[in-house]
Symmetry: C2
Subunit: 531 residues, 2 copies
């Protein structure tokens, strides 16, 4: 296609909603003539299903839950008054709480003010807050954000050391976030933090708030210990779509970000993407382009390249939102489909120096989403050469890469926003939430559950159970040394010998459980005993 | 396969080099009987090619360069004395420089000591330093590391603001890294930093060192301006394999990390992976497993999951090393092959909550590399429940996910290390450098060039060139307003109208070039003029 033909295609394939500040260019996805017509019945069905979901239908059939993240930014759309009031009250409460923390009305026992907050959460209870914290960070933030997002002891030690260099725990508020209240990584993070506060001679309860479901394990723990406050999570908000619930808004409000702007941006984007006119609806356009690029079965990866450092975590946020929603074994009729859409990427132009080599020349198993931000920086730029700024180069690299890929037949989408502020972040979140929902309808899957996550958790629990048996046995027969195979037999789990072996290696590498090791001629002849 | 069969497979498929502290479990790649035998001639050829390369053969034929990153940790292997001496001198010099900075013998004009360093580089001149800085960080570091790794003006402003909160530019050493000395992102970063120093009333030259090739643009600039010191880069070290040259070692030494340990770890790993006994050679095993999993054409993505927060950037480091090396259009005979191996991932168990749902249940287009670290933390752990630590959970989640994936037929490798220290980092770098080199031989491609990167750079330069013409024209006819199409014609580039349009949108969104806009009924009727 020559340049003028591409220009005409671009003019036809630019989805721009007036006043929205977000446009989607889909001219570099090579869908054929007639594609939109052929998909029209399917996308209209998706619009209808979305409308039912927004009206409170049980859209998550196996979990018998409503899916209501759209109500968070339009409480008047909630299916009943109780939900509407719960949303409004939670928002009012978390803003009041943040105000009181900033003013020092709510203050730590041993310092004048809270200056840091530590979010303890994982997955849906962490990625959104981390993405937004980084995207909207400014040197004028009201508080400094830290995160525990794993059960890595060394990782938590590192964060605690950084807090130590930044005012210390005495000035740190802890926000423990777990919808179910039973996520082990988060529970462990909370216990490690409690211990650190205790060692510093500080009352954890006077520094802690929770965001969790009513009557969850965390809810009961926080109430019993008398934490500062508890903010609600509801069963009709999924973890990966909870950024605009207290999960995301409380940390944002503490940091001093414009939570009302985030909500308003999402609300406007919802309105624009509710319109059932396919090519005027940017969420529908995204869903259809993903469907075309990946042949409706995730045959190609989505590489997300925001050309803006602040948005570096957007690709990780989308990785979760898209892959956990769309990576499903069964369709809604129970047929095995093994659906999904793999997402990766960091930022441009940095990633050009990491793997655009492969994208342009190598295996053609992807399409790119460029994310363009028109505004370069807050202030003015100086020139890096006559008549050119750093930002002109950033823009040039995006355009150059888009062209270099298209020249080799590689597909791309470009999402353009004016600048990065709270409204824009709200719009982007809402745009992709709806695109994922519509895509799920197109391929006939449930986007709102995650049955595949349970197996790994169960298997992990079995490992922990086996570790108990192993330690018990070693301590009962202190005089004796066992190989992995001998010990698996001794605890009556001969078939679990591999797990026994892995657990023993890990136990012996750490001083905590006092397991001694004597190396054998091979790793399998190494023996273990209690010391 | 039942548990005991898997245990026997694990025993057979564990590649462990005594004393190396790294093992590779490849029992969960479902290669068939006879696979190793069938690949033996190819891997032996790869060993021979690697031996020639290490002896100084021109292994990068189109660029007529030797490939000598292996000599960096074994200078006695360099093909001539001049190279050997250059390696040894550079190492001695950079360690001496770091010592002098730490002692205050080399100090900034307006402060007692350098407390921060700002690395300005991109791709191979940034990812390695960032990975190592994070992996080996401790609260006892000698200096604090910051990075400019893009030409995003707002991103640089953010880093400068963070430096402002951490002692300021007066206490900051700048390390500008560019092998070619002509990378625009790095040049722009340097100029933005120079300006920030000037605004702060500081002499940039007294704060700056360079790492670059002899007589490069950067080399000449640094000499002319009288920078503190210039460290060498050589044409026989590729950017993505330069972590153990001054590119990586200077930042590491400044941070106070054990650069000799990194080199020693790599040296030992090189020795272990030079052994041409396939199943005893962890690099060969990795290369062969990638080959099997991806059918020798990158048919599956490699998902890298280090279960250790410190190693979170390892997957990005590998993304660059693997994709830029292996993502090639042509094989060595010039045939179009479109090779590659896509790499993504962040860390476990965090990513379990983001996309293990898709990995287990969804599209089976990947294999996982688990990276296991046996040691949990520096000190001792408390228990999070009776008899169990946070680290036991981390280990349990890794094992649980490995099993849950295998139960569904998904493939995985596990690389295990004892703990994370400088030696281990050196080993991991060397292990993957060699695995990539061997894999490239298996599929018959040149791993040491990146021809596909040029097209995007050229296209970006063309955009900048067009911007000049646009601005000139607007300024010549100040009274006049143009649509994109009118302006493309006016500057004699009617075919480039799309680029003209994109450039105008960007110019109008920023105050720097004084381009005014008047919105039209559609984005294509918007007019632009100089103000």
């Amino acid at each position: 296609m020559d340049s003028l033909a591409l220009w005409n295609r671009y003019r036809e394939c630019l989805c721009e909603c007036p006043g929205l500040g977000v446009s989607v260019d889909y001219s570099r996805i090579w869908f054929p003539d007639g594609f939109f017509e052929s998909m029209e019945p399917a996308i209209q069905r998706a619009f209808r299903q979305m409308a039912e979901l927004e009206a409170g239908a049980v859209a998550n059939p196996d979990e018998k839950r409503m899916v209501g993240h759209y109500w968070l930014r339009a409480p008047e759309r909630a299916p009943d008054d109780a939900i509407r009031k719960a949303i409004e009250t939670a928002l009012r409460e978390l803003k009041r709480f943040a105000r009181n923390v900033h003013s020092g009305r709510i203050r730590p026992p041993r310092a004048r003010k809270f200056e840091n907050f530590l979010v303890i959460g994982i997955g849906g209870s962490s990625l959104g807050p981390q993405f937004v914290s980084r995207a909207l960070w400014s040197p004028r933030d009201r508080m400094r954000a830290f995160f525990f997002d794993n059960t890595d002891p060394d990782g938590m030690d590192a964060v605690l050391a950084q807090i130590g260099q930044s005012g210390g725990l005495a000035r740190t508020l802890v926000v423990v976030i777990s919808k179910s209240g039973g996520t082990k990584e988060t529970r462990n993070g909370m216990l490690e933090a409690e211990l650190a506060f205790k060692r510093a001679g500080l009352s954890f309860a006077r520094h802690a708030v929770a965001v969790t479901g009513d009557a969850s394990e965390l809810d009961r723990h926080a109430r019993a210990a008398g934490w500062l406050q508890i903010f609600p999570m509801w069963d009709w908000v999924g973890g990966r779509t909870s950024e605009l619930a207290a999960v995301g808004l409380l940390p944002a409000a503490l940091q001093g970000l414009d939570v009302d702007g985030m909500l308003l941006g999402a609300r406007y984007m919802d309105e624009a993407t509710r319109v059932p006119v396919t090519r005027k609806n940017p969420a529908a356009v995204l869903a259809l382009m993903w469907h075309h690029a990946g042949a409706g079965r995730g045959a190609k990866d989505m590489v997300v390249l925001p050309y803006k450092d602040r948005l570096e975590l957007f690709s990780r946020y989308l990785q979760q939102l898209v892959m956990e929603s769309l990576g499903k074994e069964h369709d809604l009729e129970g047929k095995v489909v093994e659906q999904g859409l793999a997402v990766y990427g960091n930022k441009g132009s940095t990633d050009q120096h990491a793997y655009v080599q492969q994208l342009r020349d190598g295996v053609n198993n992807f399409f790119v989403t460029f994310l363009e931000v028109l505004r370069d920086r807050h202030g003015r730029s100086s020139q890096v050469e006559p008549g050119v700024t750093s930002g002109d180069y950033l823009s040039g690299f995006l355009q150059g890469t888009r062209r270099a890929l298209a020249d080799k037949g590689r597909e791309s989408l470009t999402v353009t926003v004016d600048h990065v502020d709270a409204m824009t972040i709200g719009r982007l979140i809402a745009l992709y939430e709806r695109a994922v929902g519509l895509y799920a309808s197109l391929v006939g899957i449930n986007a709102y559950h995650q049955p595949g996550v349970e197996a790994g958790k169960k298997a992990a629990a079995a490992v922990i159970g086996l570790q108990h048996k192993i330690l018990q046995r070693l301590r009962t027969e202190r005089a004796k040394s066992f190989t992995s195979e001998e010990l698996a037999v001794a605890i009556g789990e001969p078939a679990e010998v591999e797990t026994v072996h892995w657990v023993l290696r890990h136990l012996a590498a750490n001083p905590d459980h006092r397991v001694k090791t004597r190396p054998g001629k091979t790793p399998f002849l190494t023996t273990y005993s209690a010391s």
